[in-house]
Symmetry: C2
């Protein structure tokens, strides 16, 4: 009980943190806490085939004792168009070089825009001016909505979209603490902040027990990151 009473939640400014349960969003959550924010975690159930990531998000939210963990149901399957929500095969065993070429089949149309829009709505209701998202423009999968210029444009739009944008002295901020870090640097930062990466799951196509496949783009980038960081990945792989 001493752990939960060490911080008075109301002393800290609130921040909405988008949390998938993967390595990046978990590290972004750790940074938000480290920077003194009271975290409100938001996770989406959007018809993804890798529903095991929701379990990971719950484990992480609990470990960080977030003020609230909101799971939002949205159905992106109506749009089709992605291997993460449709019937197409998730690509396997591509090199980091291949992964960074072009927009992959695992791209979900406008996903970060939809997720950030919900975060803006929740921030407005909470009276929060800060949103954290673990996007990354370095060791990433070529998604257009992970680039710094996209995030800047979203922030400008969101400031005009909401009450916060029309009230004096308030300024909505989209925090992207990982955007210019390599995967290895993200892992090192997280370890400095005490992140337990055994709780996280990055795989696009986990097995029935929620075990990472080890061969999809997400697993490939994660393994490369741990290798380059010179630390062992604490999760088990299905190979």
């Amino acid at each position: 009980m001493s752990e939960t009473s060490t911080s008075n939640a109301s002393d800290r400014p609130k921040a909405v943190v988008l949390l998938s349960g993967g390595l990046d969003s978990t590290t972004a959550l750790a940074v938000a806490v480290h920077e003194g924010f009271e975290p409100y975690a938001m996770t989406f159930r959007y018809g993804q085939r890798h529903a095991a990531e929701l379990d990971a998000a719950r484990r992480v939210a609990e470990a960080f004792r977030v003020a609230r963990h909101q799971v939002v149901d949205i159905d992106l399957r109506v749009f089709g168009g992605s291997a993460l929500t449709g019937d197409a095969e998730v690509p396997r065993d591509r090199s980091a070089g291949e992964i960074s070429t072009g927009i992959p089949i695992t791209y979900v149309p406008a996903r970060n825009t939809i997720f950030l829009s919900f975060a803006v709505a929740w921030a407005e209701v909470l009276g929060a001016d800060d949103i954290f998202i673990g996007v990354n423009a370095i060791d990433y999968s070529g998604y257009p909505d992970c680039r710094p210029q996209y995030i800047d444009a979203f922030e400008k739009m969101a400031r005009l979209a909401t009450r916060a944008g029309v009230e004096q002295g308030r300024m909505l901020r989209i925090h992207t603490p990982l955007i210019l870090l390599t995967k290895a640097q993200i892992i090192q930062r997280g370890l400095e902040l005490g992140v337990d990466y055994s709780l996280t799951l990055s795989c696009y196509d986990p097995g029935p027990g929620g075990r990472a496949c080890g061969h999809c783009d997400a697993c490939t980038l994660r393994r490369k990151g741990f290798r380059e960081a010179g630390v062992a990945d604490p999760i088990a792989y299905d190979d």
Copy 2:
């Protein structure tokens, strides 16, 4: 059958049209068709208390023979914070002057941002570069996300968010044909284009039969619009 065969759908560029079933979005749909687009209508079921508007949207979509009418379920009630989705009373009998003062309780946090984000996702899947939304910055209810500078910022963001934004020769456009029109001008424009306003429903708080209350902000602005346009409103009111 001759009606459905008069136009070859594939000849026209596709446009996603946000359609609530109200007067404004119906007029925006009429403008999209008039400008030569093949309309894909998108309507949201978002826990609104005025679900009768979904019936109106279906009637309108059918009348315009849209290529597809997509109803998307999203739950904004998790956020609370609005009389349109919560338990608060919808304000009645406010004047147009009162309505335009401040952000009203009927404001749904970041609603247009969320709706437009889904439209961007659908446009990307359809290969469409055009989105129509019937927002209005003149006879409106003081929502921050109806202003031209908000729409401009959203458009800039959306161009960076999607494949269309990284492919040469493509340029996503958010069309707001009503943004600088008065309600009376919107009605006149719609009538020129042959809109049947008896199909539409604008009320925030309709009765059990889907009959407009006549006293909420939406009814007040609509009635004032028809009065100023010098035409009779073809719908019946509950008073």
